[in-house]
Amino acid sequence: MDFTYAPAPESRSIVDLKASYGLFISGQFVDGHGSSFKTISPATEEVLAEVAEADDADVDAAVKAARRAHTRVWSRMPGSERAKYLYRIARIIQERSRELAVLESLDNGKPIKESRDVDVPVVAAHFFYYAGWADKLEHAGFGTTPLGVAGQVIPWNFPLLMLAWKVAPALACGNTVVLKPAETTPLTALLFAEICQQADLPPGVVNIVTGAGGTGQAIVAHPDVDKVAFTGSTEVGKAIARAVAGTGKKVTLELGGKAANIVFDDAPIDQAVEGIVNGIFFNQGHVCCAGSRLLVQESVADELLERLKRRMGTLRVGDPLDKNTDVGAINSAAQLQRIRELSDVGEAEGAGRWSPPCELPDRGFWFPPTIFTGVSQAHRIAREEIFGPVLSVLTFRTPSEAVEKANNTPYGLSAGVWTEKGSLILHMAGALKAGVVWANTFNKFDPTSPFGGYKESGQGREGGRHGLAAYLKGGDL
């Protein structure tokens, strides 16, 4: 019998979208000096709002506000008092979770199922977790002295979650921040600014400046910024590393990845299929730690691929606000263009391209879940980060070959291992050069667990006790 799920859209009415948004500096929304830009819904290309673009003077004002707040208020406040603000913010995030989830899905294009069940709950968990550290820093082993003003630049794939990863530990350690959200997804950061007002956070502790690359450069280059934290592409990360070299600024970078998801012949096969799907189609593959290279033991490759294709046939692509959508919209026209280009290269290089039959909406930016079979290490789609719902399938014969292929990449952010053999999991975890190794699961995020990369995937760790090191003067020890 055909069982068609009727549309189940989450209502937009909970979100109070304004026609235009200013910059959040010193606890107030102010007009920027630069021109404004539009942010659109990638699912429909509808303009959601006009957003101010911060120029150098605006960034300077934000840094000055942050410095003032740091010197006069935040660094002097006992950790137990800072904790109260962080707990309050965490609770408000929970109370306004539906509003945040709807706005995130509108602006980013990700399915409401994910913003509701993953992004927003993990955001609140991050604030709760670091609130707990604020008065216990002396037990963390990195000292208790904050760095000062942190300049933070975050990407568009998890707008609110990346904000939480940056803001929560910085504030817990006594730093103040100037944060720039990505130009395609500024809205939830601006709603977070409202939440800071609602929590009575002292003015200047959190400043949010919107804009594109130029605004980010202004933050990174500002002489009174003590710490730069960036999540985004390896290319921009390298530029930032060059810009801060020799300045005495501390820096943490969380960059690209081309993670191997390694399936052995004794894997729990149905759960492995779920892990592969979750690894590459979660958030449309816009995940730096996505399992974009499937390494499957050749003896089970055919069976696994058959099951994977069948499972991909049940993925529901479409309206991000429909509660039954599994795969939403690609975040921007530019990103869609890049995914198309690299996929065309994959085809031209001779890999077998496959997508399940699926109808894509006429407007907006869409790309079907796609796999490439017969991929070798020499293919560009096995080496370059596509950052989309595109999986490259490679095979291996032995554990040592799996390790060799998995590590044969300039990146080293994450990896997955699927086997019922515990000893093999431990062996692989030791041999893989990746910051995170998931065993019989993938894309699991928890505030207690440090996250970060090897090699060109970045430096420094976010999350857990380790995440405090990036925001304390004793963090280099």
């Binding site: 068609t4 149905d270 019922e420």
Partner: protein, 320 residues
């Protein structure tokens, strides 16, 4: 339907080969299976889809009473309800079957007449299954002779847990033979695993294959007498098993979660799982059933809410 034992005769020929086969099945990661079941449970089934699901769920109910206090009067009342679950609404479909102990089969059969609703009987020393094979077979034949359309047998969990897979297999084969009628109108065999006693999902996958190879028409989670009874993760693994078995042999086997499914919302979660794991072919009372008693009224209340736009209290639905 051919006896599937022949397709796997090399596997089921000896204790050793059967054990090798069952232990060679891919493992089930419990955390992953539970996560998948929970994720499917978040599907939002509304409006037309909900109306469709509620009617389908009603048609899939095996309306059950398995109590020491059952009487002929009680089962007659239940059978009447099975045929006309909502007397106020003639468009409401009948349930799939009435499930009783063997001594009540004749009474139920008589009440149901030619309504199309089946009579199912539990047999083989239900619920524990702790009796000699002869007695289990006699129990089965008794129900079949009384006119049961379906037999719900229990496996010997003790034998399974001690690794005597072949004994479990041979018992299912023997009960299946006891389901035969001279006219060829054989009773269909449902095999109850009592997954609450087998506990691990690896065991659930193994016992599912064992029962399918032995010729089960349906595989069923529980007796309803042991907690936990049916759960979504257990049903997930069984749906994967019937899907894989059809892939391997071309034969379809039905699935019946029983016990513990009480709300319409829960029932719809199961239907979503059937749809997305085994596939839409299984969305049919011939291939999926709910073993339940109180679930039916919950489904009826939701159905009335959908058709009238109003909630009405339990007093508006029959208690039988």
């Amino acid at each position: 339907m051919p006896t599937t034992a022949t397709d796997y005769s090399d596997v089921t020929g000896s204790e050793a080969s059967l054990r090798r086969f069952l232990h060679g099945l891919p493992g089930v990661d419990q955390v992953g299976a539970e996560a998948r079941a929970a994720a499917l449970g978040t599907r939002s089934i509304k409006t037309t889809a909900k109306a469709q699901a509620l009617d389908l769920a009603i048609r899939m109910v095996d309306l059950t009473t398995l109590e020491g206090q059952d009487t002929h009067g009680k089962v007659r009342a239940l059978a009447s309800k099975a045929m006309r679950p909502d007397p106020a609404d003639p468009t409401c479909p009948a349930v799939a079957a009435v499930c009783v102990y063997p001594d009540m089969v004749a009474t139920v059969k008589q009440t149901l007449g030619s309504s199309g609703v089946n009579v199912a009987a539990v047999a083989t020393a239900f619920p524990s299954g702790r009796a000699a094979l002869d007695i289990k077979l006699a129990d089965t034949r008794d129900a079949v002779e009384a006119g049961a359309d379906e037999i719900d047998m229990v496996i010997d969990r003790g034998a399974f847990l001690s690794g005597h897979y072949l004994r479990v297999f041979e018992e299912i084969v023997a009960v299946r033979e006891a389901c035969a009628r001279p006219g060829g109108d054989d009773a269909h065999l449902k095999v109850i695993f009592e997954t609450g006693e087998l506990q691990t999902l690896d065991n659930v996958r193994r016992v599912s294959w064992l029962a399918m190879m032995a010729g089960a028409h349906f595989i069923k989670t529980s007796t309803g007498k042991v907690q936990p009874a049916a759960t979504l993760p257990v049903t997930l693994v069984m749906l994967e098993a019937v899907r894989d078995f059809r892939e391997a042999t071309g034969q379809m086997v039905g699935v019946k979660p029983a016990g513990g499914i009480r709300t319409a919302k829960d029932a719809i979660k199961y239907l979503v799982m059937v749809n997305e794991v085994a596939g839409p072919d299984w969305l049919d009372p011939a291939w999926f059933r709910f073993g339940a008693s109180t679930l039916l009224n919950e489904l009826l209340m939701q159905r009335t809410k959908m058709t009238t736009g109003r909630y009405s209290g339990p007093d508006y639905f029959t208690l039988d």
